[in-house]
């Protein structure tokens, strides 16, 4: 994005706020605070990209993924790196899939409902205006009528369905499952975005996860960040924050970040950590702050993200079209099941290296069978889910004994499915297999995988069991705030980004009202 004319602040200036990270957590905040006239600086570890330069190549796209090594432990260790955490001005929104359902009201009160999981200290009615505002501002495309929420209307018409979506719709019709066009943060027609260049209508290229070249996909660098910069915010790219300094009273007074090998110190009145559920707790643990509750790093969660694949006689060419253009929320609370919570179902088009990587890891194929199966790429289509994950004591993040190039200890994440995740996985495999059989697929198989990074800095009402209060403010340090997926008390079945943005807008409001 264009940063050449942005306002710049001196290192000796005590800016009103420093925001670490420019993704879904940091960017809306940055815009809000700058619009309110505050002096704000965002520090982003990754580069500032010209979207037009993103190649149509999955390996080269590692440029927008967080590639510093993480260690993954447990019975179901999560894969990081590609398509998990992002880097660059815009954070993970550079590579996210733009699939943007809202949280289900019941998921925010799971503990009350069933005695398991956790309740959020914020209810749906509170989040609703922020959801609506974000959807309008971003230009979310979706159906005129949303079957699971009669009050919901999306501002733009849906993006066209690809082959996988067409198959899933016909299969759902046969099995009596409701499905509709997915809410997608991808503009289905040219869209004038405030303070930024016109976002072109989606061209159906299928490369959402490798960076959108035309601005159709919502990423922060084409939405909230141009607003922030126009309002006077400064964004410093390639700036990796490692040290948080505090004054005699224990308040944050500065951060130290490394840019091109040189350390710089930026003074500030308030600090927002928006670096995601791995890097945010890593910063707190490294600096040994904000953890009187002992909850930093605890409650690590990843969505159950099982996929089912099948081969079809017709060509699918699933690389074409918006990848997840159909949704079903019918499994949010299915009847007669042995698990709590639920899951969303989506159609899947996946580009070939990513798809074949899943085959390599998840389907025990090698040799000629593997070669032959890869050759069938143009005939393959998939379904996937995003399912509830309960917080468990055994799932947590800590710092390992190994350091990386930054000199910080590498994060070590322990993650094992519990009985509830396994039950969701089984139910989803059975459902999706039935759907793909109904659609006429052959050679059906399932890939067990998890997705997203959630938890580790839980928000709550009690300082002994949560890291931040219900608006994201640290219980320990009054001018330290957190806003990203780390504050989620439970995973929700919905993909996280839209909820992160809603929380970001809400946290901004709370800070402007009480925090300054």
């Amino acid at each position: 994005m264009k940063l050449d004319r942005m306002k710049r602040h001196g290192l000796d200036t005590v800016v009103d706020a420093v925001i670490v990270g420019t993704g879904a957590g940091g960017a809306p905040l940055l815009a809000r605070l700058a619009q309110a006239g505050l002096a704000v600086v965002a520090l982003e570890a990754g580069r500032n990209h010209d979207p037009n330069e993103f190649p149509a190549d999955e390996v080269a796209a590692s440029e927008i993924y967080w590639m510093a090594e993480r260690l993954s432990a447990g019975e179901t260790p999560e894969a990081f790196g590609g398509n998990n955490s992002g880097t660059g001005v815009g954070g993970s929104t550079l590579h996210w899939g733009a699939f943007c359902p809202r949280a289900d009201q019941r998921d925010l009160e799971l503990k009350t409902e069933c005695g398991q999981g956790a309740d959020w200290p914020v209810d749906y009615a509170t989040l609703l205006p922020f959801y609506q505002e974000a959807e309008q501002f971003l230009g979310v495309s979706g159906p005129a009528e949303y079957p699971w929420d009669p009050d919901r209307h999306y501002p733009l018409p849906p993006v066209p369905r690809n082959a996988s979506a067409q198959l899933m719709q016909s299969a759902c019709d046969k099995l009596g499952v409701r499905a509709t066009d997915a809410p997608a943060a991808v503009v289905s027609r040219d869209f004038e975005q405030a303070d930024g260049p016109t976002r072109q209508a989606c061209i159906n290229c299928g490369y959402c996860h490798q960076g959108c070249r035309v601005g159709a996909k919502t990423s922060m660098d084409v939405t909230y960040l141009p607003v922030a910069v126009a309002a006077g915010a400064e964004i410093r790219a390639e700036s990796f924050v490692h040290t948080i300094e505090r004054d005699a009273a224990g308040q944050v007074c500065a951060v130290v970040y490394r840019q091109h090998g040189v350390d710089h110190r930026q003074r500030c009145r308030a600090l927002f950590l928006c670096a995601g559920a791995i890097e945010t707790p890593r910063l707190l643990l490294h600096n040994e702050i904000g953890n009187s509750s002992g909850q930093v790093g605890r409650n690590y969660m990843a969505h159950v993200a099982t996929q089912v694949w099948g081969t079809f006689a017709d060509e699918m060419r699933m690389n074409k079209g918006y990848p997840s253009s159909l949704i079903s929320e019918d499994m949010t609370r299915p009847d007669g099941v042995d698990f709590v919570g639920g899951y969303l179902v989506q159609s899947l088009g996946v580009v070939p290296v990513t798809w074949a990587s899943g085959v390599a890891r998840g389907r025990l194929l090698w040799g000629q069978k593997l070669v032959d199966y890869i050759d069938r790429y143009n005939h393959v289509a998939g379904l996937g889910i995003n399912g509830e994950c309960l917080p468990q004591p055994g799932n947590f993040l800590e710092l390992s004994d190994e350091t990386d190039a930054t000199g910080l200890r590498k994060p070590l994440v322990h993650f094992s499915y519990g009985p509830n995740e396994r039950a969701i996985d089984r139910h989803a495999v059975a459902l999706m297999t039935a759907l793909w059989e109904a659609a006429g697929a052959s050679d059906i198989w399932s890939l067990q995988r998890s997705a997203h990074t959630i938890g580790t800095c839980r928000m709550g009402t009690q300082r002994d069991s949560a890291v931040v209060d219900p608006v994201g403010r640290s219980f320990d340090i009054a001018n330290l705030w957190i806003c990203d997926n780390s504050v989620f008390p439970s995973s929700l079945a919905a993909n996280p980004a839209l909820t992160i943005m809603a929380l970001s807008l809400r946290t901004a409001g709370a800070f402007l009202k009480n925090g300054v």
Binding site: D50, E53, A56, G82, N84, C202, I203, G261, S357, D375
Partner: protein, 482 residues
Amino acid sequence: MPESDPRPFHGMTVFCLHFLGGSGRGWRWVAERLPPTMRCTTVDVPGFGDASTASGYSVEEMAQCVMQTIRQARPARWMLVGHSMGAKLAAIVARHAEDGEPGLGGLEQLVLLAGSPPGPEPMQESQRRTMSGWFAGDDSSRRAEADGFVTQNIGSALHPERHALAVDDVLRAARPAWLAWLDGGSREDWADRVGVLRTPAMIVAGAEDGALGPDAQARFMAPHFAQHRLVTLDGARHLLPLERAEEVARLIVEQAGSVGSAEAAGSVASANAAAAVGETYWALLQSARVSSGTRAVLLARAEPDRAEAGPAALTAAQLATLHALMARVLPQAAGREIDLALRIDAALAEGSGDGWRFADLPSDADAYRAGLRTLDVAAGEVGFACLDAAAQDALLERAASGTFPVAASVGLLSPSQMKLWFEDVRFAAVRLYVAHPATLARIGYSGIAYGGDGPRKSGFVDFGIGRREPWEPLPRLPEPAP
């Protein structure tokens, strides 16, 4: 003449980037000695020369300034000559050009003169402190400091006209820009970002240069250039374009002349890539539907493997075992195999990784060494590579099921580790295999061609079950029988 010339020009444009305190004027004597087929264009970066009042002193901003000049000039063919500070900028600009950024196509050669390397400059702190104290006083002390700076950096006396111009240029520089380089720019570490460049480079050093002499060039600069030549100018110190304009011009012409061989090498590489992907896919790859960035990435990947170079992370014996393993994991037809084992070895040597690893495995390179050794131990005296295919597959079945028949021991992987490592092996092999343009051609993949470099991309208009646009490639293999 160094300044821009509005006439269309079809020869080689030589972009010259000055040293700290210098400016485009300092290239005059070099430019005069270039043949008419070459045209010198100089860039004064912010804070120096004619741009002394411009702001933006960081390396990034200076490099952007250079790229803006190049984009505006729209050269058909061009080379970059960077002197000292300018050499760091040249390496960064070359990285952007090799990444296929719009408006930067056509870079053919680099010449780096007494260059500051992409990583932090090996400058003594005392020197940095001394220089940071300059130019704060009155006119006469400033002039004396500028004169001292020029004098310190030459091996023998300059022609008076050149000396006067150099001193004058130093005095023209904005002091904040001077300080920004000393305290900031020269310390900035761009080594990872620049990586290893493919563009042929000539690296020139003055034999008498202190911190940036021949040793420093070999140690800090040369590793960034896959094809480079080191040249030392005896008796010269640091201000090479002023000290040795004639020789510098000759070296630039000589480096430009090696274009012929680079073009020849390029066409061999192209021929290899074309043969690997087949005529139809090659035409698609060259078409306007594919962006220049995508094309650059795919062509680089299609370059043939250089097995003769030997392994970089593994031993020759381990590489042989890995070759045997790859032949079982992803068998390829003889003739044009992608050397997956060699590419994995290169990735291990680079240490870039894929963003994570199983906590139960050691570092990637150690896991490969131990995993390959464990395969060989299981194979008994002959080693894994000498087993027949059925016996190899039987061992891989045991690896995949976590029942590998070798007990945990020092330097070996346990059965549960073998299961994880074999998963990593399949993953690494498949990524390298599928990302290769020959495989994309084989499966008839259209995604690389969703849009070129124009403001509006074509994208896809016809998709859904059984839909194919007329231009979309068919697989290179016959469809398997139903």
